[in-house]
């Protein structure tokens, strides 16, 4: 008989969400989400005072370009992948390292439910921090009269960030379930492989998540497929893998 999945997953989700939000690691998340807000405040003050002028090829950078740069450079290139790798790899790896995985495994629940519950808790936790952060950056950086034309872009960006958090988190959750030292490999992937593959000619960019985080219907489907595949792989891997706890 197959053990129930969603009931136990919900209990793991609630337990993990509280732990994640109020853990020391949350300081890193607050820093990552707060930095763009501080930068937005400084940039807006500088522009209003006229004390700083950002120009590219002689053209002054307007609020629209500044907002788009914040999204593409700060959020998509750094914050989203970094949160994905730090939290995704730690979801199971921390339990192994702290030797608390045994307590979870001895519960009469499917191992897949543990992975699913923890992943959903991660997703809500990071989304609850990153998406409002982007909304605040939008409110601070963009003057009201320019918000109208950018509203559609804001919605798209929020969707892309949510997809990015889901995909990176799922990929590194699977890495955390499968490998002993997933963090180093994850950092190499997001800060080494992805930037390199994105600029190399050919098809290497298809082996990155960043490539699929570009607004198009086919890319959205690809990101959702990667996410679902990674979560299912993680659930399947934890079901069969034996964890040797170091003394």
């Amino acid at each position: 008989m197959t053990a129930p999945l969603f009931g136990p997953a919900r209990r793991v989700f609630e337990l993990t969400l509280g732990e994640m939000l109020w853990a020391r690691r949350t300081a890193f998340m607050a820093l990552a989400a707060g930095a763009p807000i501080v930068i937005a405040i400084l940039a807006r003050l500088a522009v209003v005072n006229g004390s700083a002028v950002l120009t590219v090829n002689g053209n002054r950078i307007g609020t629209q370009a500044m907002f788009e740069t914040a999204v593409s450079v700060l959020y998509l290139r750094f914050i989203v992948p970094a949160l994905g790798v730090f939290y995704g790899t730690s979801l199971i790896a921390d339990e192994v390292e702290d030797r608390t995985i045994t307590y979870l495994f001895t519960r009469p629940i499917a191992r897949g439910a543990i992975v699913l519950g923890k992943y959903l808790a991660y997703l809500l936790c990071v989304a609850a921090v990153v998406l409002p952060s982007l909304a605040l950056v939008f409110l601070i950086m963009v003057p009201f009269q320019n918000m109208g034309p950018l509203f559609g872009k804001l919605l798209t960006d929020l969707g892309i960030l949510a997809l990015g958090l889901a995909a990176y988190g799922a990929l590194f959750l699977w890495a955390g379930v499968s490998f002993k030292r997933p963090l180093v490999g994850g950092l190499v992937f997001i800060f080494g492989w992805e930037p390199l593959a994105m600029v190399l000619p050919g098809y290497l960019r298809y082996l990155t998540i960043a490539h699929y985080l570009q607004a198009s219907a086919s890319n959205v489907a690809s990101v959702l497929a990667i996410t679902a595949a990674a979560v299912l792989l993680a659930m399947r891997t934890i079901q069969t893998r034996e964890y040797v706890l170091e003394q």
Binding site: V53, N57, N59, A128, L131, G148, P149, F151
Partner: protein, 341 residues
């Protein structure tokens, strides 16, 4: 889930909803002000504009109608003080869309007349050109500097101004791929409007209603009728006999032919009815004259005159065949009209 976790999640959702709601309000306000189809370039047009004209230059240039029309076109409209001479911007090659507005009073010349044609002053109004396309800013600025241009900053934008005793022209690079060109005061006024420091045309509900009615055309124009007095080729004696008109709008859809619409907004329904009768009279006269000119006859057959409330509209078509017949070189091929006894 603990209480503080719930509070955190609600606060987070609140911030997100506040951001989205503000953006939604701004979007709705912008959509209501500018209209559903008004071009973005209207954001630079001051509320004092008396005439606004817009053209999708790329669509016109790529149309078969333009190719055919170009065969019969003579001369070059760009004078020594035109945008091409001043900036090196090639209207046909570099510009995709253009919007021209006449500001403050009567429609003034976009490009000042040559020396000897009379002094240029703001008393006759200024014109502003907002062009979207591909611009080599370094080359353009270099060319203007060679003509003695001065560079200044205004509201964070780079203004390149050429001025001599009788002429003045300013070019501003306001967005990537968007330039303003016109009198210096006009360009600065446009930047004031964009910055929200002056009223824009979007706040003029009547003007925007007229624009919404015509802006599906490849090219269109909306003007306050009194601003056109003295600048139309129609004799003032005829203009004075016309019923009172508030607005005049024209639009054209260009493909292999030209599908045109001219719409006048009279002061009241009585004036609209009178105007309709006047136009009907002119059409009857034109039809009488066109019996000897099949090209005109075909065009006049396509004319439809409508009146609805205070609005009188006239639509027409210029087909490729009619254009061929109207061409100067084809006069010999036109069938001869009935000879007078």
């Amino acid at each position: 889930m603990t209480k503080r976790t719930r509070v955190f999640l609600f606060a987070s959702a609140g911030v997100l909803v506040a951001g989205l709601a503000t953006g939604l309000v701004a979007w709705a306000a912008g959509a209501a002000a500018v209209g559903s189809n008004g071009p973005d370039e209207l954001a630079y047009v001051p509320g004092t504009a008396s005439m606004v004209a817009y053209a999708d230059v790329r669509q016109v240039m790529n149309s078969p109608f333009r190719d055919r029309f170009g065969q019969y076109q003579r001369g070059n409209g760009s004078g020594p003080y035109g945008i091409e001479a001043r900036t090196g911007i090639d209207f046909e090659r570099d510009i995709d869309r253009v919007l021209i507005a006449s500001l403050a009073g009567q429609p003034g010349p976009l490009f000042p007349p040559p020396p000897g044609a009379g002094a240029v002053s703001n008393a006759t109004g200024m014109s502003l050109l907002v062009a979207r396309g591909r611009f080599d800013t370094v080359r353009i600025e270099g060319l203007m500097r060679q003509q003695g241009a001065q560079v200044e900053e205004y509201r964070g934008k780079r203004l390149v101004s050429i001025k001599d005793d009788t002429h003045g022209a300013t070019l501003a690079f306001v967005e990537p791929g968007l330039v303003l060109f016109g009198a210096r005061d006009g360009v600065r006024g446009a930047l004031d409007v964009k910055a929200g420091a002056a009223n824009g045309i979007a706040g003029n509900r009547d003007f925007m209603t007229m624009i919404d009615g015509v802006d599906e055309g490849t090219a269109w124009s909306v003007a306050k009728f009194d601003s056109l007095a003295g600048s139309t080729p129609i004799p003032s004696a005829v203009v004075n006999q016309l019923p009172p008109i508030n607005w005049l709008a024209a639009s054209g859809r260009i493909d292999s032919g030209l599908h045109g619409l001219v719409r006048a907004e009279a002061q009241d329904e009585q004036a609209a009815q009178s105007l309709r009768e006047v136009v009907q009279g002119f059409l009857a006269l034109a039809r009488l004259q066109s019996t000897r000119e099949p090209a005109y006859k075909g065009m006049l057959d396509s004319v439809a005159l409508n009146a609805d409330g205070k609005s009188v509209s006239l639509s027409f078509e210029v087909t490729p065949a009619a254009l061929d017949l109207l061409a100067p070189g084809n006069a010999a091929r036109r069938p001869a009209g009935p000879r007078r006894p």
